[in-house]
């Protein structure tokens, strides 16, 4: 589903440049539940941005759903994002003047789906995250956990190939964090590829595979031994 070969990325800083990703190789298959672990500055967010087509890479190869990503202009990237990727952000990134339902329906708007159809689909996904009764609420009328569930519903609404979550629990307390992770697990069980970025060990522990990143290189890549937590 996601295949990365010898990926390099550096950012210009002043006159020099900061080499953030130093030749990553990573292969994520369909249906996997993967977490990228690393402290801040390890390059994990940069990786997610490149995988999420929010940013470009310098050298190396990136295949998304078997398609080589190169020379992407903004328009093509936007269409691919809309079609293949669902995003969940740490700070939720809901549009504050739109209701929960409208937020969830927004990606469908950019697919050119009519309003009625859009709202119908969006309501189904809100129901899936257990927020059907909150459909007409504005983001500031929702709790942090509810906001993130709305964001997850929004990520799923286009039925993407991969859900990319950037510190999805970073702004949540531990109980809510757990609920959000349960939701992501459930989505994964239904066959969705889920790609989580986190710096919290216990969050990473809830995924199936942990990739550790340090100073722009992968230092470990291991399956998690499923242990039942209470």
């Amino acid at each position: 589903m996601i295949k990365i070969e010898k990926l390099h990325k550096s950012y210009p800083i002043g006159k020099g440049s900061l080499h953030v990703l130093k030749g990553l190789d990573l292969h994520i298959k369909e249906g996997e539940f993967v977490s990228i672990m690393g402290s801040s500055g390890s390059g994990k967010s940069t990786l997610l941005n490149i995988v999420g087509l929010l940013d470009g890479h310098d050298t190396g190869k990136y295949y998304l759903n078997g398609q080589l990503i190169e020379n992407l202009d903004e328009k093509k990237a936007a269409i691919l994002r809309n079609k293949f990727l669902g995003f969940v952000f740490q700070s939720f990134n809901l549009i504050n003047y739109k209701s929960a339902l409208e937020n969830v329906a927004l990606p469908l708007y950019y697919q050119g789906i009519g309003r009625k159809e859009r709202n119908k689909i969006a309501l189904q996904y809100l129901d899936k995250v257990g927020l059907k009764d909150r459909a007409e609420h504005l983001p500031n009328e929702l709790s942090g956990g509810e906001k993130q569930r709305v964001a997850i519903a929004r990520a799923l609404v286009t039925n993407p190939k991969v859900v990319l979550a950037d510190e999805p629990t970073g702004a949540l307390d531990s109980t809510t964090s757990h609920q959000v992770m349960e939701l992501l697990k459930e989505i994964n069980r239904e066959g969705m590829t889920v790609f989580v970025i986190t710096h919290e060990e216990d969050i990473a522990a809830e995924t199936d595979r942990i990739v550790r990143l340090k100073d722009g290189v992968i230092i470990s890549d291991e399956k998690v031994n499923k242990k039942v937590t209470i």
Partner: protein, 409 residues
């Protein structure tokens, strides 16, 4: 192409972001309102000046005679110059192609009475051409006709105020007024934009008055309008030439200023035109200034709006909005607000001017109003400016990488 869904998206952002909408809308509406008001008041000033000079036809020339002040060709000074009918014929023949209307003129101050009501009025013996010369308009009945001239008819056309003085609120038409002991039938009542004085005149056929008051074929003065096709310079040249040939004919020293006096409104018109020209430039300047201020205002606000929305635009991009989606959305919003607010400002301005009406007449502002095409044009200019002002930041916003936009706080 009308895309209902897109419009709904825009209506929602407009509705849900009231402060932003109000801010930009207010700037536009205010600019158009100011523009309309300033332009309207400028036009009001113009109207006042136009009215000041509306008393007589703008292209009229009056010729009077007096006594010579210089001896010339063996003739003494102090000699009275008397116009006669052959001068009429002479002028008409010499300047046929340069004259539009022409009438010799006899003027008498006469006692007028009707059934006990009496008053003194200036009675003028004129030809039918005299009516347009004075810019007078017949209200009821008719003016003097060629037949009246031929038959030396005892008929008169009276000013609106003469009718009011002698007849009160009743119609004077068909009634007989006695002037210096002779009875004349009223055939018409006229009004004259020149004011009260001009509306207290009585016009009788030239031939009738000449027969009664003048020995031989003497007359008092000439009134004529020059061909409106003449430019002002040509008209002034024409009146100079007219003066010259008349002086020659009556053996008057060319430098004698009082024996034959030609009063040409074209000279006044020239000044008025120049003044109006300056006034027009001032009004135009104010108008353009207001528009520029409005354009700058809307540009600022669009930059601010796009800046404020950077994060939202980043979210939209992450969710699959293409750059053209983003640009289209911002521009449509910008155009929508500008058009709506511009139209509102225009309406308020026009109604305000209507309400002002003639209430500012004592400040020389008469009927302040604006031509529709001017305000509509101004509104279109602002809409175009709003579009461009929206396009530039929208384009920039669309180019920002979504990741940068998302991190914007």
């Amino acid at each position: 192409m009308f895309d209902l869904d897109r419009w709904q998206e825009i209506f929602q952002t407009v509705r849900k972001n009231k402060l932003r909408t109000a801010l930009s809308g207010f700037t536009i509406a205010f600019a158009i309102l100011l523009f309309t008001l300033l332009f309207g008041i400028g036009n009001g000033l113009k109207h006042t000046f136009e009215k000041q000079f509306a008393g007589d036809s703008q292209n009229s020339i009056y010729i009077r005679s007096g006594n010579t002040t210089k001896p010339y060709k063996g003739l003494q000074s102090g000699r009275k110059i008397q116009f006669r009918n052959d001068d009429s014929k002479f002028i008409n023949k010499e300047f046929e192609d340069k004259i539009q209307f022409f009438s010799p003129n006899i003027e008498r101050f006469a006692q007028a009475s009707y059934k006990g009501e009496q008053n003194q009025y200036t009675v003028r013996g004129v030809y039918p051409d005299y009516l347009p010369l004075e810019s007078a308009v017949i209200e009821t009945g008719r003016f003097l006709s060629v037949l009246d001239i031929k038959k030396k008819g005892k008929v008169i056309a009276i000013g609106r105020l003469v009718e009011k003085d002698l007849f009160g609120n009743k119609s004077a038409l068909g009634k007989n007024i006695v002037l210096d002991g002779l009875s004349y039938r009223v055939v018409g009542v006229f009004s004259d934009p020149g004011g009260d004085n001009d509306e207290r005149f009585i016009y009788a056929p030239f031939t009738t008055l000449q027969g009664i008051y003048k020995p031989n074929d003497e007359l008092d003065r000439f009134g004529l309008t020059f061909n409106p096709k003449l430019s002002i310079a040509e008209a002034i040249a024409f009146s100079n030439q007219l003066t010259q040939v008349l002086k020659e004919k009556h053996k008057v020293d060319p430098r004698d200023q009082s024996a034959i006096r030609v009063q040409n409104y074209a000279e006044g018109a020239k000044n008025v035109q120049q003044f109006m020209g300056v006034l027009n430039v001032i009004i135009l300047f104010i108008g353009i200034g207001t528009l520029v201020a409005g354009v700058i205002g809307i540009s600022n606000i669009m930059v601010y709006i796009v800046k404020e929305r950077t994060k939202e635009l980043g979210i939209r991009k992450a969710l699959g909005a293409t750059p053209s989606n983003i640009i289209g959305m911002i521009m449509m919003e910008s155009i929508f607000i500008t058009a709506l607010a511009g139209y509102t400002g225009l309406l308020i301005g026009v109604f305000a001017l209507k309400a002002l009406g003639d209430s500012l007449e004592k400040y020389f502002i008469l009927n302040p109003s604006v031509e529709t095409y001017v305000v509509v044009g101004a509104t279109i200019v602002l809409i175009i400016a709003g579009t461009i002002a929206g396009y530039i930041p929208a384009k920039r916003a669309a180019r920002i990488k979504p990741i940068v936009a998302l991190n914007d706080e």
